[in-house]
């Protein structure tokens, strides 16, 4: 059965967006990522105009992350205090990133910078997570060397002002830390046009030292607010949210997020990290292929205004 999408102005098989939603929702519940870095390119591949794909995706993430946050909150896995600080930083960073893109557009280098940022960030994050989680799964061999290094960084972090205790995560940090790193992710997310979950998750694991299960819940909580803002702005200024497509996607993704949360409880933190790393690396490789293989058609639909 086919359905016509009133904003995308195209027709699509009903089961396709439901299936895609289910897949992305599963990742969302498992890893705390919105999945925009996967779903938007897939939607474009199936004939949805790029601007509609990105805007509708954020609408769908609102539903999936609500569903996921709710499930994780019930399990006691959301650090609201940390989420709030990250949000403040992310919001400020997002504003800066949008300005940076405007400057890049004016100089005509926007696309190059966006693509390169994408490949580099995905590549670095994926590879680092993969190596780190594999080596910690094998056994903590370099524990001593690590401990020495950690205490140095730890001392520096402890010397920062505004130290505060994050109960849920069981860590004490300067309030500046989540705000600054939230801001950094916000800048990159705005440049790349994604929610930034796949960047925020490693920041929470490796820099804020939060336990994996709290990371997932907190990341979803944070993504929820970012995507509410993006959905509204896209609908209001660009008229690019396709409600019908969003409903089909979220029918799949909200259920996927619940299944993901249940699965996530059965997997260890390290296993989750390896899975996420593999997915991120796969997307990076796909992007490298797209960049180097000659396309069959040299024109594509414009981004719209």
């Amino acid at each position: 059965m086919y359905i016509y999408l009133p904003v995308a102005l195209t027709s699509i098989k009903v089961l396709l967006p439901i299936g895609l939603g289910l897949l992305v929702g599963l990742l969302s519940g498992l890893f705390g990522v919105g999945g925009g870095f996967l779903l938007t390119p897939l939607l474009i591949m199936f004939g949805i105009p790029p601007t509609v794909a990105a805007a509708t995706d954020s609408n769908q993430i609102v539903a999936a992350s609500t569903s996921g946050t709710y499930a994780h909150w019930k399990l006691g896995n959301v650090d609201f205090k940390m989420g709030l600080y990250l949000l403040i930083g992310g919001f400020a960073g997002g504003l800066m990133g949008v300005q940076a893109i405007k400057v890049l557009r004016a100089t005509g280098n926007a696309d190059f910078v966006i693509k390169m940022t994408y490949v580099l960030m995905l590549g670095i994050v994926g590879t680092y997570m993969f190596i780190e989680s594999i080596s910690s799964m094998k056994g903590k061999k370099s524990e001593e060397a690590k401990a020495g290094k950690e205490s140095k960084t730890g001392n520096f972090l402890k010397s920062l002002p505004f130290q505060t205790r994050f109960e849920k995560s069981g860590v004490t940090h300067s309030a500046l830390l989540p705000i600054i790193f939230g801001g950094f992710v916000g800048v990159l997310a705005a440049i790349m046009g994604v929610g930034g979950g796949f960047l925020m998750v490693p920041v929470m694991i490796y820099i804020l030292r939060m336990p994996m299960h709290v990371v997932v819940g907190t990341s979803l909580f944070q993504i929820l607010f970012t995507c509410i803002e993006v959905t509204f702005l896209q609908a209001y200024t660009n008229h690019t949210v396709d409600f019908v497509l969003a409903v089909l996607l979220l029918a799949g993704s909200t259920i996927g997020a619940q299944i993901g949360t249940v699965f996530g409880r059965k997997l260890k933190g390290e296993q989750l990290k390896v899975f996420l790393a593999v997915i991120v690396i796969a997307v990076t490789i796909k992007m490298i292929f797209d960049l180097t293989l000659s396309p069959s058609i040299l024109l594509s639909q414009s981004g719209g205004h």
Binding site: N59, A235, V247, Q258, L299, S300
Partner: protein
């Protein structure tokens, strides 16, 4: 001056209203005094000329039929009004990386262009006539303005890419020999059924049937096809475009509601803690 530049100059001149009126008078005179059009007998009928785009729309079909004089050839053109189009260009950056390298702007290009003829265009029409009635890709290439391009070769390359892109989107199609023709009482009945792609956006489309003899167009007739959104599709599309704030709020609230709803159902189902 190249033919390309002459064509562009023609387009510019045609934009002045006085010139247009003069041209109109000349064409009018031409039709009545010198052409053979008055001797031809052409009637056309377009079946399914109001395409309703509803919730389960997945394209449609349009059939064009009619009666024309025997011994003539026919060209059937279906096109959307000429418009401005912007597309993204892919090219090599830093020598080896394929990415978007800017925009390609086209003026006087139709978004949809179907052309079906009884025989190959080059065998039945001379190029002046094709240019006059915008029949075939070469005429369209001379008519359309593409920017930015370095030279004529570059322009030609991007026009070909444009056609390739449109054909892959099912919006451009040229064929010969698909019109079925049967002779009857010194006249010929013609008929063709065209698949209407769901990729064609709502709007007005013009069907033109040209009667061709001795490499010239001797008669033509036109009919309109309207593709329009109806029901829920129309309501949602109007709201998205005219009431962005409300539409955005409804989208967010629906997503939040569904997320919570599904969360609660699953929460109960698994018994939570």
């Amino acid at each position: 001056m190249s033919t390309l530049k002459i064509q562009k100059l023609k387009n510019k001149i045609m934009e002045y209203p006085g010139i247009r009126f003069l041209m109109f008078c000349l064409v009018f005179l031409d039709i009545f005094l010198f052409s053979e059009m008055a001797f031809s007998d052409l009637t056309i009928k377009v079946n399914h000329d109001r395409i309703k785009i509803n919730f389960v729309y997945h394209g449609s079909s349009v059939s064009v039929s009619g009666v024309a004089d025997s011994g003539t050839d026919l060209v059937i053109k279906i096109a959307s009004p000429e418009s401005h189009q912007t597309l993204r260009k892919k090219g090599k950056a830093a020598g080896f990386l394929w990415m978007n390298i800017g925009e390609l702007k086209l003026e006087h290009a139709s978004n949809l262009y179907f052309l079906h003829s009884t025989r190959k265009l080059d065998d039945i029409l001379n190029s002046d006539e094709m240019d006059k009635f915008l029949i075939g890709y070469p005429s369209m290439e001379r008519h359309v303005e593409i920017t930015p391009v370095d030279n004529e070769n570059d322009e030609s390359k991007w026009f070909n890419e444009f056609v390739k892109y449109k054909e892959s989107s099912k919006l451009y199609d040229i064929s010969s020999g698909k019109i079925s023709v049967t002779d009857k009482d010194g006249k010929q009945n013609f008929y063709i059924q065209v698949d209407w792609p769901y990729q064609a956006p709502p709007g007005d489309y013009l069907v033109t049937v040209y009667v061709v003899k001795d490499k010239r167009v001797i008669d033509k007739a036109e009919k309109n096809v309207l593709a329009e959104e109806v029901g829920i599709v129309k309501a949602l599309s109007d709201m998205a475009n005219n009431k962005g704030a409300l539409y955005g709020m409804i989208s967010v609230i629906a997503a939040l509601g569904t997320g919570f709803g599904v969360g609660m159902i699953f929460g109960k189902g698994t018994g939570a803690h």
